[in-house]
């Protein structure tokens, strides 16, 4: 088919696609240039000690498993708490409403770093001794649960009133309505933000190294870095690990997002 025989619409569309492709190619080239400059920087002016890197890369990498483990346990706890807090915020029962707003306000009003130390250092004075991992997961779960409760609340509220009315018309109890109609739809909207929270939690897990008992990426990097005065190499290795983890998780996150949004197109 010659150019003349293509319709106006097709020509416009082809031009648009060309622009998009050009933009993407140029961005990719820019990325490659930036990475190239970084590599040149670290091979030239800034000398990184490759002996140290080779010796300790495996040791620091050993922390990746712990980071994931902490994050997965914490996100599980956070999801439970966020759901409960969201239901509390939407509740008409005053004590439940007060409890959940108190929880959200208190946790959002104090630093995560303080919360981690609180569970690890302060509770033993009350006779509750938690292992470092436990304290860290509890603090992270409580902290993220408070922030994620807003996401859940927005998700629940976004389910249209018509759905609830239809459920009542069918004779469902409020519990059944929540369980079978509202929550499944609410969760569809809440999952993408939760995915982002999980990714950000893998970075905040670095704070749990403060307890001294959780040997995740950051703890390992700071210990060997300090001991051998190669903090630059150690922290760059740690940064690269966190970055790669984030890139992989973001990739899966966008796949999940695309999948969930399929029904809307």
């Amino acid at each position: 088919m010659s150019q003349l025989q293509k319709s106006q619409a097709e020509l416009l569309y082809a031009a648009q696609q060309r622009k998009v492709r050009q933009f993407r190619t140029n961005v990719a080239i820019s990325w490659i240039v930036i990475l190239g400059l970084l590599i040149a920087l670290f091979n030239g002016p800034i000398k990184l000690d490759s002996v140290f890197i080779r010796k300790n890369l495996f040791f620091i990498a050993g922390g990746v498993g712990q980071t994931f483990y902490i994050s997965i346990l914490s996100i599980g706890l956070a999801m439970c708490l966020a759901l409960l807090a969201a239901l509390g915020r939407l509740s008409t029962f005053p004590p439940f409403y007060a409890l959940s707003t108190f929880y959200v306000s208190l946790i959002r009003g104090t630093p995560l770093y303080l919360q981690i130390f609180f569970f690890f250092l302060a509770l033993p004075q009350l006779g509750i001794v938690l292992p470092g991992l436990f304290a860290g997961v509890l603090a992270l779960g409580l902290n993220y649960g408070a922030y994620m409760s807003e996401t859940f609340r927005a998700g629940i509220s976004s389910v249209s009133k018509g759905q609830r009315e239809a459920a009542i018309a069918l004779g469902m109890t409020p519990q059944q309505t929540m369980q079978r109609i509202v929550l499944p739809q609410a969760l569809r909207f809440a999952i993408p933000p939760m995915g982002n929270d999980f990714i950000s939690m893998t970075k905040d897990s670095a704070l749990v190294s403060a307890t001294g008992f959780v040997h995740e990426i950051m703890w390992r990097a700071t210990r060997v870095g300090r001991a051998e005065f190669h903090n630059l190499e150690a922290l760059i290795i740690a940064a690269v690990f966190y970055w790669i983890m984030t890139l992989i998780l973001t990739f899966f996150q966008s796949r999940i997002e695309a999948r969930l949004a399929r029904g809307d197109r």
């Binding site: 250092l121 499944p184 001991a227």
Partner: protein, 300 residues
């Protein structure tokens, strides 16, 4: 979709609960020594950045058949004088030695909550520690000295008056700088100059490491002679200023506030230390790690 989340969160909470309760499945022992022997490993607290006393051996491989909990290190993954003393004590008790890595000021505060059993961390016997800990016979007696950058123009301890010095938190060196060192007067050789301002860091090695990083918040650091000697041996641009400031007797500490009765463990550890003095083990370890024997005349 909701069921998946319910199951996932229940599993998460269950995993959490199990990871904490995993150890509590045997018939409980009624004192700390029996508990240690029953579980087959002794948990020792240590600072992983305190060479030559204690440090990580990142090239070390964790043995597959180790009983050590996952948040502790095995002896293969650690190195140093304190580490080898702890390993020897564990061997003499008939158990494996595992190392936990809490912060030093958490160790010296006591009330460990059963997170670890003993501290083999060059802890000096000084008030108020005997109120908080049972101490074994001292296992070595290092001295405290001052380290300065190699190009420092200071020539004696008194030149430090009014200057900033670096010390590690909760140490005898901090007490010395504050003029509050409560040791036997015959063990104190020099008094701290007046008007010192203090830069306090979490551990001893962080002071020379800060100097190496080019920090100039302080002009000198006070720490164990073993640390300064190791800095010089490692090629850092530091030197010792003046002579020994004081001598401290370092021993193994056990928390008095332990829920399980620790007195039997204290007795067993003390016997092990005395045996190690008697058969020359401690002397040999001291010469290996410090180049000199710091273990003489400690057994009463």
């Amino acid at each position: 979709m909701k069921k998946v989340y319910v199951i996932a969160s229940v599993l998460a909470v269950a995993a959490l609960a199990l990871s904490a309760c995993g150890a509590a499945t045997q018939a409980p022992a009624n004192n700390l020594l029996d508990a240690v022997k029953q579980r087959g490993y002794l948990v020792v607290s240590t600072d992983p950045n305190y060479m030559p006393q204690s440090g990580l051996d990142t090239a070390g491989k964790r043995p597959a058949d180790t009983k050590c909990p996952s948040d502790t290190y095995t002896t293969a993954e650690m190195q140093g004088f304190d580490v080898e003393v702890a390993k020897e004590v564990g061997t003499r008790l008939g158990v494996e030695t595992c190392f936990a890595t809490p912060d030093w000021d958490v160790i010296t505060a006591g009330s460990w909550g059963g997170r670890w059993d003993i501290s083999v961390g060059s802890m000096t016997i000084k008030p108020p520690r005997p109120d908080i800990f049972y101490f074994s016979t001292p296992y070595y007696a290092p001295t405290g000295v001052i380290g300065v950058p190699a190009d420092s123009t200071l020539s004696s301890v008194d030149d430090l008056a009014g200057k900033a010095v670096c010390v590690a938190t909760a140490t005898t060196y901090l007490d010395w700088v504050n003029g509050a060192l409560d040791l036997n007067p015959s063990d104190i050789y020099a008094k701290a100059p007046t008007g010192l301002s203090i830069v306090e860091l979490p551990t001893d090695q962080e002071c020379p490491q800060a100097l190496e990083a080019g920090r100039n918040d302080f002009v000198a650091y006070v720490t164990s002679k073993t640390v300064v000697d190791s800095n010089i041996a490692a090629g850092m641009a530091v030197k010792q200023l003046g002579g020994d400031l004081f001598k401290e007797k370092d021993a193994i500490a056990i928390d008095k506030a332990s829920t399980l009765d620790p007195t039997s463990l204290v007795a067993a550890v003390d016997k092990a230390v005395k045996d190690m003095h008697g058969d020359g083990t401690l002397s040999n370890l001291s010469k290996k790690w410090f180049g000199t024997d710091l273990t003489q005349d400690l057994v009463q």
